[in-house]
Symmetry: D2
Subunit: 337 residues, 4 copies
């Protein structure tokens, strides 16, 4: 039985996901599309030969009887209402990150889901599905390096467009570390601090770059992350976990090593789209498989809310230059494992 | 339109491939099974829920009107006749390596295919579909290191079973390098030499291990390959191409780097089944896709014949300790690109 | 003309230095020894065949007419008075780190030297003489990675003795980074913060381990250093400088790479005495050579004072958990280059 | 008591060695110089302030009563007679490689030394003193990888001058591997084969480059060495020993790792003079120290003869394209350990 999926939001990422399901993954089919740009959605439906039905409004799509599950790739501010509609309809939904644009609206999604009595929402934090992060987690869980004590990370982009400004280093960039490190360490955050380094001349006017974010977890683990989005040299994601008896590193992507012009070298990826492209495949395939079993086994609404709340604390810490406690609503037993 | 596939030979690898197509790949379906062990085949069909038809003999399966294409995973000595039957039936066939157990029978397959006027056979040399070898070929084709001059390889296994003896270092092991290096360099071999190194105490009685094979190509490229199947430390596949201005290396599989007990380390795989597992997926998916387009874009019958002829020369060279010329039938224009 | 050296303090490091000069370096000779343990000093003089004169008190040694220069390896609290005596005698002196045990006494040495009108003191921060740090500085100075923006360091020891407690992570351990990073970046520090990570179960009772120290420089460069002295896995000194267009790393010491038991690995040193042993040789040879030319070309009294003042700020930051400004006396023009 | 050394041959390497002893090493002094270019030798003596006596002929220098030991850096064809004169005078002599330009003349040196009843000759194969090769030998001797079975080497230069032609790839280049591998493996060679690879367009007219040399040892160890002296990318010395349970690699020289322009890289040296510069220091210091104890602890006259005989077999193998046995005079018991 193929899972019949409706896609809400057919911009770049929505189309990517739709084609991924259509051409590459098994067990699901795209049957419905919706986007505020109706003409473009029809065009996409035609050129990609999806043969889906195009809906003028997302409510009808959500409620369509031949739609089993939803894939939300609309813009962030629309997520909260759309998620609440999916929950109201009792339909599983995969929601691209961020789940919501505020912790407050994230909490409403959590509460609706608890009310509904069933986990329906999965949030699109794809790093949890990356082979490298999974291998790192496996190493930690095996006790190979003992208990984690410190984590040193870097999130580097060669450059960002002019529209990338202010707090986006937190809300667009660091939010990935927020989710994946919490999962990796199986721990929650209790405080955040942001330190602005010397500004690079390559950072555009509206941006202080690089910055360093410091997180403390409930177990006392200290996490430092360099965020440097005009680093020029590559899309470079680093994660080193220091444990009681050793250190473990996120794998570097495999590449052809060269000996050339006086240097022995390997490649650093430069295109972020390539870095986690396999993770997107795994993420959606596992979502399809779990959904067919009536389960959610990826990041939940609670994880989405936690990420938003942590990001808000980081933003506050960036502005106040103080150490900001991370305060959350009480975790419903519903989200216990 | 799904490709309807019949599987001949349902041992370990046949079952792997059938399940791969059934559960993971798109565009094809297993509709027919055949194996000399009929009971086991029925059992496999049931437990895997393939819902395929089990045939008592392979000719009926090949000729079944609802079978579009064949997957041959029977034992080597049966391949030649089965391939000729597929060609006679005009049906595309994916044949596990080796294509045939002798160059002579390989040539008969080639001749039948030429006679049929259509490429139907693809041989299961999966390394051509490995991301690492593909990246290496891309580097060579880009001219990054200039023209290739020498190639240094190693094919190492932690250990082999007692049944692995004599010439199997060539026919079972080195045959992978024979195919993939020819493809990598876009060149043919002209001579072979085999040098037996000091025998390891870990090599069992019937085996001289390690050995070194030297190949020369028509362009004069020199290839040396260490074959060491009781190396203990890992399943370690090395390939270094030395060009006019640089050297390029087959990527090492990505792994979690550790700092532990006075060593900084990364993993070497130990299970050969893991090393090329992704390549098997790509190989069969591309075969399905190409077959649906009426094409063969993997190793052809000619490649299968070439591999057998080269392996025979290597075996002769191992016994004679001489440099043995590699002589082949003339390449039919049919196999030109 | 050989430089005639008197050694004050003949414990482990004093003996090491004396033997280094006696047996390995050129241009100098040990002519005088002093230590509070007179018997041991006589014994050392005999067994090492130094044929030096043993003095009962250091003042006489400093003033001896056949002593051209001093090497101070006594315990830290004695340094200040001994340095002032050397300066009063107008004699060059190499002083093991720390120069003094407080910033206040360090400032007195600085003032005495300024008064004397001549640089006489060199402080034993040996990392400036390490080939790796020098290569890193050369890379930075060449502009290869652009201006430095952030620096990520680690200072890890497998373990420390029970007597290593409290603030020694700063005063004994981090003091090396304090000096070498200031030299590496050609910059001064303006503030310090210390973050205590989750305590390792391997840290002994009197020690919070690991900790993270954050320094800010006058140019805004942010430095984070993990100090982890019960890390078990090695004596591991890391320094990564992130610049505007690239990152540069302190070289790992060369070692035999192994492929063994499923791992590809290189060695991490475990004995701190080995890590910088070549740097000690270079340090003292260059001191001998510069002293013969009437110069000081290593860390000066000002550098020694700066290190003490920074360490005091770090200690205060560790206790207060606040960001502590680093305030210094005005730098005398005397120490400008 | 300083060792008083006379230098015969004051070209580039002779001057280097003389200055090394004069300025950097301890326990020896240059007291005498000789070269066919008398004017240049006087000029060198003056500018370097050696204050040595310049001799018009080498016999007088060898016999001078204030010369304790000789350093031979004249051109190769002169070595045999000069060595015989040193032996006749009963004086220790350090002779730059090659000891002699033929195996036959090398054997005469061996016989003279045996006759004299005392080892006097050390040959300047400096790799035995390189920290990397020593670490590799230590690893082998410790049994870490089990018994050695195969050795894969590369000797690469960015380019060579036009005067480098024909067999110099053996006599000038590979001769270093010949000596150091025999020492590393503690084994002798029994046969040689040379395989000419595809010629690089960067190899000048008189040179076939690269070539591969295959050696077999008395224990059956197989050694393959790529010699590629127009490789462009660096002075790259590789040595991988494959043992029964693992593989060990000659350390790469330490260098600053960079992340820059999409590549993570380390340096490959490009200047051969830098690669073993520390080994020259160790080699001569140990020769001075051993000579003062009346010993030879580096490569002996027998080693020099063995290298010449092996090189001659390789040259023959290059021309004949056959596998050439390496036949030697019987090893005098005199050279047993």
């Amino acid at each position: 039985m193929e899972l019949r999926i409706g896609v809400i939001g057919c911009g770049a990422i929505g189309q990517d996901h739709a084609l991924r399901i259509h051409r590459k993954l098994s067990g699901a089919r795209i049957v419905a599309l919706n986007d505020i740009n109706l003409a473009a959605t029809h065009a996409f439906n035609d050129t990609s030969r999806l043969d889906a039905k195009v809906y003028e409004n997302y409510q009808d799509l959500i409620n369509a009887s031949d739609v089993d599950a939803l894939l939300l790739a609309s813009w962030g501010p629309a997520h909260a209402d759309q998620l609440l509609a999916c929950i109201a309809a009792g339909k599983p939904v995969f929601c691209e990150k961020p789940m919501t644009t505020s912790a407050e609206s994230g909490l409403r999604v959590v509460e609706a889901e608890v009310q509904a009595g069933k986990k329906l929402v999965q949030v699109g934090f794809m790093r949890r599905f990356d082979a490298g992060y999974r291998a790192l987690k496996k190493t930690l869980n095996a006790g190979t390096i003992g208990d984690a004590l410190m984590v040193h990370c870097a999130h580097r982009n060669p450059s960002v467009p002019e529209m990338y400004v202010g707090d986006m280093c937190i809300t667009d960039t660091f939010v990935h570390e927020i989710d994946v490190l919490r999962w990796l360490l199986d721990d929650d955050y209790v405080s955040a601090q942001v330190v602005e380094g010397r500004k690079s001349r390559n950072a555009h006017a509206g941006l202080h770059d690089p910055v360093m974010v410091l997180l403390e977890t409930s177990k006392g683990i200290r996490i430092d992350t360099e965020i440097f989005v005009s680093c020029r040299f590559g899309y470079d994601i680093q994660c080193q976990v220091v444990g009681e008896i050793g250190a473990a590193f996120l794998p570097e992507p495999a590449s052809v090593a060269l000996r050339l012009e006086g240097r022995a070298s390997t490649a650093i990826q430069t295109d972020w789209k390539q870095r986690f492209i396999d993770a997107y495949d795994v993420e959606l395939q596992e979502w399809i498989d779990a959904t067919q079993r009536g389960q959610v086994n990826g990041p939940t609404a609670w994880d989405g809310y936690f990420a938003s709340a942590t990001a808000e604390a980081c933003v506050e810490a960036r502005h106040s230059k103080a150490i900001v406690p991370i305060r959350l609503a009480e975790r419903p037993a519903f989200y216990s494992k």
